[in-house]
């Protein structure tokens, strides 16, 4: 399960538990409160009855009841003396009987009286319950027992209403919690997604990219900073490795050039014995190969140390024709048929020398790995955003397993290694890097029985000069 979902779930559950506890407390407290008020009301009433009783007794003539009756109109009141003899009952108390409750706090007692007798607006059929309680009230030195009751509305509906309100508030708060925690979790995890995306995209050639820091000093920011430091170290060591190759090939080139010059100078001597000349020539060939290899290595490491592109506008078709022209001799020698499908002009803004190199490497490749009597086909496709060059050869084809590695340094397929095609296996790597620098891509498409097609796709870069002219 994703952290975001999990966080949302946990926060919501914790929030739900807290609000449920709070709601229960509020609910039950809310249920008790009205009865406490009733108790207080009855107590005050009983005490007032006591005072009134004392006034009547003090006036002499025993309990008259007339004033008490007026005084207790809306209440059910019975007064007993210490011998448990009823000394007074209010009008309501004459009408219905309520059992004497145990002393202490009040109780609810149901009766048959219709509720609408007391409360006009209430439902008609409902029976009335009474809240009643007894109090010992001292009057003129003797303790009277006052039994007081008052009709109460049923609190069931209020409870249901309170429960409904609390329930919906609970639902709303849970929804709010889910939404807020989901958003907050998303916000917290946003940088993590960003880190993940970059980590997935980063490779040998995009090591210069870094995670954007939020600079808020939180844990994720710290993680991002650590990752960036790791990228720095990786970048440095990759760079150092490439610089080493560049430096090494640069250093190698000077002595090789000197050796070649001196060998060439020696070979100018026509008096050399034939066998010595043979051996010197073999050395010269080996040296030339080495020279070429070192040069390619140097070029490749220059390209990988992100050489800048020198873009100019030129016609891709003209360049391709020019390149193909240089290979005419080779094509004829291997009895290869050349098919060229280029229509009109194809101006692009790119590094002419580097693109020329790509085309040369691809055509060279298509000739080198072709079968005698085969065909080399060149095509271009252009739309508004990109231009694609395909160079197809009818060679023996490349196994699927090898296709992925064809652009790797020094990689040569088994069959090509066996048949001594020459080349150091850097041509396609160099082409790949140049195309990459142009923001394009190079792909291979081959069946084990051939043909093999190399596709170069270059994005079209708008030329401000051409646009201005148009």
């Amino acid at each position: 399960m994703k952290i975001r979902t999990r966080t949302t779930l946990w926060v919501s559950l914790a929030g739900l538990a807290a609000t449920v506890v709070l709601s229960l407390i509020v609910f039950f407290w809310g249920l008790e409160t009205p009865y406490e008020f009733l108790d207080q009301e009855l107590e005050i009433r009983a005490r007032n009855v006591g005072v009134e009783l004392a006034r009547e007794l003090a006036a002499g003539g025993g309990v008259q009841g007339a004033d008490l009756e007026r005084f207790t109109r809306l209440y059910w009141v019975r007064i007993y003396n210490q011998r448990r003899q009823l000394v007074f009952a209010s009008a309501l108390a004459e009408e219905i009987d309520l059992p004497l409750p145990a002393e202490g706090r009040g109780h609810l007692v149901p009766t048959d009286l219709a509720l609408n007798r007391f409360y006009d607006e209430e439902g008609t059929d409902e029976a009335t319950s009474f809240w009643h309680r007894t109090f010992r009230v001292p009057v003129a030195g003797t303790a009277y027992l006052v039994h007081v009751a008052r009709p109460v509305e049923s609190l069931v509906w209020e409870s249901v209403e309170a429960a409904t309100v609390i329930g919906s508030a609970l639902l709303a708060s849970v929804l709010l919690l889910v939404v807020v925690s989901y958003l907050v979790a998303g916000r917290i995890l946003g940088p993590v997604r960003e880190i993940n995306r970059l980590a997935r995209e980063i490779n040998e050639n995009t090591l210069a990219r870094r995670i954007q820091l939020a600079a808020n000093g939180d844990e994720i920011d710290e993680l991002a900073a650590s990752l960036n430091q790791m990228f720095d170290r990786l970048h440095t060591s990759f760079r150092r490795q490439k610089e080493f190759v560049a430096n090494a090939s640069h250093e190698l080139k000077t002595p090789i050039t000197l050796l070649r010059l001196s060998l060439e100078e020696t070979l100018q001597d026509e008096r050399l014995p034939a066998d010595v000349q043979e051996r010197l020539l073999a050395q010269e060939r080996a040296l030339s190969r080495m020279h070429r290899l070192v040069k390619n290595l140097l070029d490749l490491s220059r390209l990988e140390l992100t050489e800048r592109l020198e873009r100019t506008t030129f016609c891709l078709h003209a360049l391709l024709r020019q390149v193909l022209d240089e290979f005419q001799v080779l094509l004829a020698e291997r009895q290869l048929t050349l098919q060229v499908h280029l229509q009109g002009a194809c101006p692009i803004l790119a590094d002419r020398e580097k693109i020329q190199r790509v085309l040369i490497n691809l055509v060279d490749n298509a000739i080198r790995y072709n079968v005698p009597g085969g065909t080399v086909t060149c095509r271009t496709f252009r739309d508004s955003v990109q231009v694609r060059v395909t160079i197809t050869n009818t060679g023996p084809g490349i196994a699927a397993a090898d296709q992925a590695r064809i652009f790797d340094q020094f990689f040569r397929c088994e069959q090509s290694r066996a048949s001594e095609h020459g080349g150091a296996g850097l041509g396609l790597t160099i082409a790949h890097r140049i195309v990459e620098l142009h923001g394009g891509r190079i792909e291979i498409d081959s069946a084990p029985t051939g043909p093999t097609c190399l596709r170069v796709t270059l994005p079209l870069v708008p030329d401000p000069a051409l646009d201005a002219a148009a």
Partner: protein, 226 residues
């Protein structure tokens, strides 16, 4: 003849490169001093065109360092500065000639030809062997006074061989100077043979009298004894 242009203004660079390519020169370009120096020190060039005002490393520094590396390639420097001191400084650092910006392409080409002559101790703009004349100025080849039509590559091959007459030039070297380093010299070796064959058919019908095959090495233009 292979020329390296070190110039940071893309338009001027492209313009010079195009002009030189039309004249059958093999052209490489560099847009800054560091790349330029790197190329100049590791590739065999017949001439360098070097702008003095460059980013990162200026032309003076490039000159000083390449001469310190014993690279003797003739250098034509381009400068917008009119001060005599600057020109003197450039020449003293090892430049062979200078051209004040702005310049005409015709003058640039003339200076390039003059420098190439000088570096090959060639007095006349006419490269001559036997009855074959190659006019470096008009880019025309005549044989016994009759014009010979050559393809650009044939012209470039002949020009390079004539400048380096009496030296056996390996196919590898020919590929480097006439085709540039984008082509694999090993793949080009047969191509060179075919071009030489065609060239001989046009300028040298007693095959091997003028353009001599040096066994195992390559080719050489030998002065014909009258």
């Amino acid at each position: 003849m292979r020329v390296l242009i070190i110039e940071d203004e893309p338009e001027l660079r492209a313009q010079i490169a195009d002009t030189l390519r039309q004249q059958n020169y093999t052209v490489d370009t560099a847009g800054d001093g560091v790349t330029g120096l790197e190329r100049a020190c590791t590739e065999p060039y017949d001439l360098l065109i070097l702008d003095i005002m460059l980013p990162v490393q200026d032309g003076f520094a490039v000159l000083r360092e390449m001469r310190a590396e014993q690279v003797a390639t003739p250098v034509l420097m381009l400068t917008a500065r009119v001060e005599v001191e600057d020109r003197v400084r450039g020449l003293d650092l090892g430049a062979d000639d200078y051209l004040l910006k702005p310049f005409s392409m015709a003058e640039l080409l003339a200076r390039i030809r003059a420098l190439l002559r000088r570096s090959h101790t060639q007095a006349s703009p006419l490269l001559t062997v036997g009855d074959i004349h190659l006019d470096t100025g008009t880019r025309e080849v005549t044989r016994s006074g009759r014009p010979v039509s050559l393809t650009p590559k044939e012209f470039a091959l002949l020009e390079f061989l004539l400048y380096n007459r009496n030296r056996a030039i390996s196919r590898f070297n020919l590929a480097e100077h006439v085709w540039g380093d984008a082509f694999d010299p090993f793949t080009m070796s047969n191509t060179i043979d075919v071009h030489i064959r065609n060239l001989r058919r046009k300028v040298d019908d007693q095959a091997g009298e003028v353009i001599v095959t040096v066994r195992g090495i390559g080719y050489m233009v030998r002065d014909v004894q009258p």
